[in-house]
């Protein structure tokens, strides 16, 4: 009996021991089979570029602000963002997903692993897009976490950096990016190539893009408190010298006419995967028609009557207005991320700030012609399709004759430059920044503005709900009203037209 007992006890114990010794191996199945733990630089780069272009450069921030600058118009049931009704929930994805996690977090990871792996070109591109995205965040939301961001273990609730310090950091980051690209001591485990949808691995062009961003950011602060416009103009000119030299340097992302691969404007505004309510603004169409600007054939499509017509911003109704032009919105159209005309417009503006009208004229002329060069094929194609010539001019020469010469005094010339830049930069976020910085062109608030006292378009996004909920102390310290009431506040650099003598016309 006792021996049986011992036998049993022994058996049970050894059975248990058997299990426990192999226990750690048995339980070692928690490595995720669905998601990799390590990925290579090319995979990250493609993800960053695809996300950033779709979600930011041709996504919500531009859709919304293009209606605010009255180039486009939203035709959904009121209220909507077209009348400045954007609340903390509406702007949450842009901050939370598109920017801080999808793009910038991965830029940080890519720059870190690429540096570790000595693949400096990848680090350079990551920093360029990181800086670019961060500029858009601060331009939309003002002060924002930067120095304490992307470090959850140390800073679970990151403090907000001032916009001034963010812009200083972005210049440093772009300098680092350029330095990375210039490095020759890296490895060539991977060479940037087809994973780069923008330049296909042409690092010289990436460097030029970095300089464009540098110039853009210097100009951004031209009228910022405590900054000197001439100093900023000089800095910008120094940067543009190293930037795009022609439209062939343009940063573009080409989409395909295949299900799930189409241009984001097409998916959003034309095909109706989500909505077809985004149309051309009545103001923009009218201005183009009044000035006989042939670029209307590229910028806008025909309405149902084969004419160009715009939708009055903020007015409810009429679906039959001109859509965004196919140059921008065809299924296989490219998204214009950054383009050569901007370089020349920055130069023109900088020269005007410095009082050098002739130099400005040269740059301005190049800018406007570059804009026409970019669109000329489309103008020819679409005007040829225009059976009844819907009142739009096709005479490029006449237009250039009428508009190519800057007029004095400087503030008139300045107005010309900014107005032309406004047209040339269609579908780029920079249009909204330039309008806020210079108040050119002059815009009044849309009809049915959500806040009835508004006299001009909204000047910023509210802070997003996720920060209000989960980083409330820091976001509340910024003193910006919550929800759509924020949209009449201004970000730090937005002082116009007070600090801008040339802006008064």
């Amino acid at each position: 009996m006792n021996s049986i007992n011992k036998y049993i006890t022994g058996f049970v114990l050894s059975a248990l021991m058997l299990f426990s010794t192999s226990c750690s191996e048995f339980l070692d199945v928690n490595e995720d089979p669905n998601n990799p733990v390590v990925v290579s630089e090319p995979l990250l780069l493609t993800g960053i570029i695809a996300n950033f272009t779709y979600q930011i450069l041709a996504g919500y921030p531009v859709r919304v602000t293009s209606t605010w600058v009255q180039q486009q118009s939203y035709n959904g049931a009121l209220p909507h963002y077209g009348i400045y009704r954007v609340d903390e929930n509406d702007v949450n994805n842009t901050w939370t997903y598109y920017s801080y996690s999808n793009a910038m977090q991965n830029c940080k990871i890519l720059s870190e692993i690429a540096t570790t792996n000595e693949l400096y070109d990848y680090a350079g591109i990551a920093k360029i897009i990181w800086a670019w995205n961060m500029s858009i965040v601060t331009d939309l939301y003002g002060n924002a976490p930067f120095s304490e961001a992307w470090n959850p273990d140390m800073y679970p609730r990151p403090a907000y950096d001032t916009q001034e310090s963010i812009y200083a950091s972005l210049q440093t980051m772009l300098d680092d990016a350029i330095a990375d690209i210039d490095r020759t001591d890296g490895l060539s485990t991977y060479v940037v190539g087809e994973d780069d949808f923008v330049y296909g691995g042409n690092m010289t062009k990436w460097k030029k893009l970095a300089y464009l961003l540098k110039a853009r950011f210097y100009m951004r602060l031209s009228y910022a408190p405590g900054f000197n416009a001439v100093t900023q103009a000089d800095l910008a000119l120094a940067a543009t010298a190293n930037s795009f030299a022609s439209n062939t340097d343009n940063a573009t992302y080409e989409y395909l006419d295949e299900a799930g691969q189409e241009n984001p404007w097409y998916q959003y505004a034309i095909d109706g995967k989500w909505s077809t309510d985004q149309q051309m603004s009545d103001k923009f169409i009218s201005d183009l028609l009044i000035r006989n600007d042939p670029r209307i054939y590229a910028l806008a499509g025909f309405d149902g009557d084969g004419e160009f017509s715009g939708h009055e911003n903020g007015v409810d109704g009429d679906t039959d207005k001109s859509p965004i032009g196919e140059y921008y919105s065809a299924a296989d159209a490219a998204v214009i991320m950054a383009s050569y005309p901007e370089v020349k417009f920055i130069e023109a503006e900088a020269h005007l700030i410095k009082g050098d009208l002739p130099a400005a004229q040269t740059a301005y002329s190049a800018a406007v012609r570059a804009s026409f060069d970019e669109l000329s094929d489309e103008i020819d194609k679409k005007s040829a399709d225009d059976d009844n010539l819907s009142g739009a001019s096709t005479d490029v020469d006449a237009y250039l004759t009428a508009n190519e010469t800057l007029r004095s005094p400087l503030n008139i010339a300045y107005n010309q430059v900014m107005n032309q830049k406004y047209i040339a930069m269609f579908t780029q976020f920079e249009v909204y920044n330039d309008w806020r910085r210079t108040k050119i062109p002059s815009l009044s608030a849309a009809q049915n503005a959500n806040i009835s006292s508004m006299t001009e378009p909204a000047t910023r996004f509210p802070y997003p709900s996720a920060e209000l909920n989960y980083n409330s102390e820091n976001v509340n310290a910024q003193g910006v009203p919550v929800g759509f009431n924020a949209v009449t506040s201004k970000v730090w650099w937005n002082t116009a037209p007070e600090n801008c003598t040339l802006c008064n016309n």
Partner: protein
Amino acid sequence: MKKILLISFMLLSALINESWAQERTVSGNVSSKEDGSTLPGVNIVIKGTTDGTTSDLDGNYKLSVPAEGGILVFSFIGMTNQEIEIGSRSVIDVILSEDAQQLNEVVVTAIGIEQNKRTLGYALQNVDAQEIVNARETNIVNGLAGKIAGVQINSSGGQAGSSSRIIIRGNSSLLGNNQPLFVIDGIPIDNSQNQAAPNTVEGSVFNGSGSNRAIDIDPNVIENVSVLKGAAATALYGSRGANGVIVITTKRGSKKGSGPTVTISSSFGIDNPIVKGFQHEYLQGSGGNYRNGLPAGAGGFRSQDPATNPTGLTATQTSVSWGPSINRMDQYTLDSIGLPKIYDPRDDFYRDAKTLENNITISGGKDIISYLVSYSQLDQEGIAPGNEFDRKSLMASMDVQFSDKIKYSGSINYINSYNRRLTEGNGQRSYLYGLNFWPISHDVTKYLTDDGTYYTYNGGTFNNPFWLAENNGRFSTTNRFILNQSITYQILPWLSVSNRFGVDFYHDLQEDHVNIGTRGTADGRMFNADITNTQMNNDFIVSVNKDINDDFRISGLVGNNINTQTYKNDLIRGIELNIPGFFDISNASTQEAYEYDSELRNYSAYFSAGLDYKNMLFLNVTGRNDWSSSLPKNANSFFYPSVSVGFVFTDLLPVSEEIFPYGKFRASWAQAGNTASPYNTIQTFTQSAPGDGTRGAITIPTQGQNAFEQTNIKANNELVHELVTEIEIGGDFRFLNNRLGVDFAYYNRKSTNQIVDAPVAPSTGFVEATKNVGKVENKGVELTLTGTPLKMDNGLVWDVQVNFAKNKTVVNELTPGVESIFLYGFTSPQIRADVDNGYGTIWGQRFSRTEDGQLLIGEDGLPIPDDALGSIGNVQPDWTGGIRNSFSWKGITLSSLFDIRKGGDILNFDLYYSTYYGTSSITADRGSVIVWDGVVDNGDGTFRKNDIPVVKDQTYYTGFYSSYDELFVEDASFIKLRELSVSYALPSSLLESTPFKNVSFSVIGRNLWIKSNFTYWDPEGSLGGNGNGQGFYHGVTPGTQSLSFRLKASF
């Protein structure tokens, strides 16, 4: 039933040391007084010693006894002890009678242990086979509704094959699983609601949800369902039992030796939809003008005189029902087309759905073998055309007593379930969109023009539900095996080892068909998802049972459990189809593929030790250590203890057994807790998905390149298991010869260290982080009253059972800086877990109020919206209950079950739309005047009572009323006559000359009567299916009521 339990109990029950001294032997046979059958496993002890034996399979025993004197004590659970003087006899046959006084109900507790309910220190409630079968519910979960105190059940909707949520003692886990573990004959089985497509591709909000997999269980094979509610009851299941356990015991054959018994049952039922909440007076149109919704050139008509409105006849049609009253048609229309015909689109669409269920069971056995084979076939139509649920279940079980020491028990169950559903939820593909907004003046049955073109009533936006039923569908075909193999070796009378191995395997082929031409998805699309789920489970148990002396008895076990769960889902999706009605992936222009795999392994060691004192005081201690694969290696081990005490104090009281035969107090303390879901401890990357919400997107790989990004949920390599600590006290009292019984329980269950993907400041680079956070407390009482108010000599018996439970869930803490977590829905409205407003808070657009809670009214006479979204209700009920009455008399049984839910809100988001479209009954009062009860701000800090009248016209409803979620929060209380059944069993005298042993007929009604203030009448429904985010009623098929007829015969 009892007999089967007794036989099997034998193997675990107390056996006594065999006597070594041999003076003389006594032998004999023990049998039961009630049915004359022999009783195996009866304890036979020589009084005052530990010497004794047990009766064998045939009830025979043989025992060495002292040369002189001695008294034998015969004891058996459920029977009255008998003491017999040996005297000089060498053969002593004994007949034991059932003990009516003591409640010797044998119940199945954790790990399949059968115990006398008397010995338990925690609450446990049983539902027997008849109650399950009589529910006539396809889904076993629904069959439990109203029958167990503290168990809350909510059906997700009226489509056949819909899931149902079951919660015991409230929601303990913030975002984790809150539903109990299902165990069949000791084998845990899966009850997931499998969503094939990732949420980002096709979430339930836009599609509806499917079945919970417990729907595969065939009610016909269930002998008994035992519900283990508290942590002490489930402690031996460790982390997996943290939310309670539903222990299902299947029917087994009998070894009695009679020939096979064949039982056939057949039932036929009709389900009708419960539809309410629509207006029947106002026609399609706008501004009081009639528009008939026909396409231009196909009879399109608009009731405006062309003289005054020349474009009237060709004017754009509208989808809304803001036209004229059928009672006040304008003359122009009457002259032009006559009085439009009126339909009832909801009534025209839904059908009387037939259910046919047949079962054949063959069971029997002889000597050492018993067997049972059961085959059931269920064919259920849904009330929506095209919706069906079919189930075939074949179960075979066998028990073999190889020898006195070795017993084998095994079963295999094959189930084939097929569900075809219509798309529900938010969006044009949902048949409820077209149907709920369908104007009464348009014939829903007509959706093809004369030349066969598909059109719908408004020229474009919505789909015709009949067309959808014919062309689109969501399919799930499940093939499932549940295998159970158990062997017990009785090493010594007091010591046994057993091993139980089980596999639950299923393959679920889910398909989605969206045909070309579907409004909203004009190009069509499809997917096929292969889901396989495998759970393997092994328990190795060493049990001891020993009487130490007359007063003390110990029982205990040491066990080991290994459990693995693997899940695999391969989904291929095709978008933009080329050939209509051809749903093969080759027909898609673009294909997308998704894969999801998951594996969870758990290893455990556990013990249970019980000490009984004089069959009166029971102490039980358990402990279980789990090692889980989903936690970091250095923190994957956790120990859950429990202590429970039961005290049958009536044994000490000098009270008449007739008045107060039985009274027991129970108290317990226990800990349990969930482990993490797999893959939360290591940071990973995921394929990029550039897109805008769930609509526009770039499919990766794109242009020949793959793309990855870091997962935006921060992994946590310091994760620990969740912890639930529960205290329970209760009692079980019986009075008046057991004709009145009261069972109550109070519990307090605190959950901490919740594993939550908690939202974080997005500027950290992450959207959420997996954390151990939060404190949730569930407090409640459960009360069950049982009574027999009538027990007449003529055989009339009236039994009553009342269940009542009240649970309060308090979210005490989430994580620093987080007050609220999203559970389900849209940005607005949605369901949240919220520190201030509790678990299941409805969150949405609400009105501004003064500090004292009055509505603030604007100068236009309408309430002013609040700037921010906020709490507008909570879905948790105040209390739930059930009342069962049954009368039986000479083979006739009449039984009713009322199921009651009091309090709690439901968000009827359908009303948001149907009010806008003018079809909801709310809009039937259009044209009347309202003065909102509220105050108007005088602008100087004072308020005046609002007296501004507002006309409830089209603008009022479409512009104002339909914009505020707060207006669509409704009371979810109900009283349902869940079951009403009459059955008649033919008297055996009548059957004597026939081959039949039993023949019975039943008529069963379900939900024949409902009392509820819910606009749609039946407030059970949830777009999220059985998930944590309940109370979101939107695009959900209405509930049903049914009448079934059942015939059962055995021979």
